[in-house]
Amino acid sequence: MTIQQLIEQTGWKPVTKDADVTKEINGAYCSDLLSWVMGKGQPDQAWITVQSHINVIAVAVLREFSCVILAEGAHFPENVISRAEDEDLVLIESDLPVFETARKLIELGV
């Protein structure tokens, strides 16, 4: 599915304005330790995390993630959002805990 379809079917908010939501999502990866994500993430995955530090953007670009989903109702700081827009990376905020966020993706066939 595409990021656009995910947003429409979950109601989760994309917080980036101009980033490309037509990208495909193929699988997902869950972790908050960026050292692990750098080593294990795969291209086109949606990355589910509670980590909102600006390093998230560099790691997501490095691993060529489709998008980053911040779970637990947490929010990305403004400087992180603008860095993501520079990198054409979609950031999404989910009110659900990490496990429930992942379950939602599974239900939608990711």
Binding site: L34, S35, M38, H53, N55
Partner: protein
Amino acid sequence: MFYDLHMHSCLSPCAENEMTPNNICNMALIKGLDLIAVTDHNSTKQLPACAEAARNIGIGMLFGAELESSEEVHVLALYRRLEAALSLQPWIDAHMPGIPNDENYFGNQLIMNANDEIIGKEPQLLIVSLTATLDECVEEIHRTGGKAILAHVVDRKNSVTTQLGFIPPDLPYDGLEIKRPEQIKEVIARNPWIKENETEWLIDSDAHTLIDISEAVNEISEDTVARLWGDLQ
């Protein structure tokens, strides 16, 4: 000057009870150190006793704490003056998550006087992450006149490397702490924008027991100390 600027007193639940203010200072003296710092987890409450013990025993001391940010990154706050270090405490208090300590599980958190007598116990668990980001921790350390040293930067636990993948290039830290000199190469390999000669490197023990306090092997020049913290006198 031989130094060790990262060790824990018996206020840190994970440190041994033998890490009393006088034991720490005397052991550091026996080992031939000239400058030490006691840096408990998220607390400055052992520092008044440590300051008095250091003065009585005649060893140089900087005053600090090891903060844990909301990203679970450890960062040392190091000050030249006791009062400046203590001025960090209200901010720490305002950013504690308020989890009670379970002594049987985590260990006790003893506060002592300069005679190594127990004068209190910290009821809140200290090995927790503060509700402040790493950026906010560094900002507050600077606001209170301290230096922010990223702690044990390539360790597998609570280091900037494990938590954030790499050292944030825009973070205005003052120094990087490692455990062994050969780790400088590892830090630079992971963070190629870091210049070896333009970075203040500290090699500390992170001792939780007396025996683990550094021997007299790591030296810091008085110029470097003065550049970071001003004249010690």
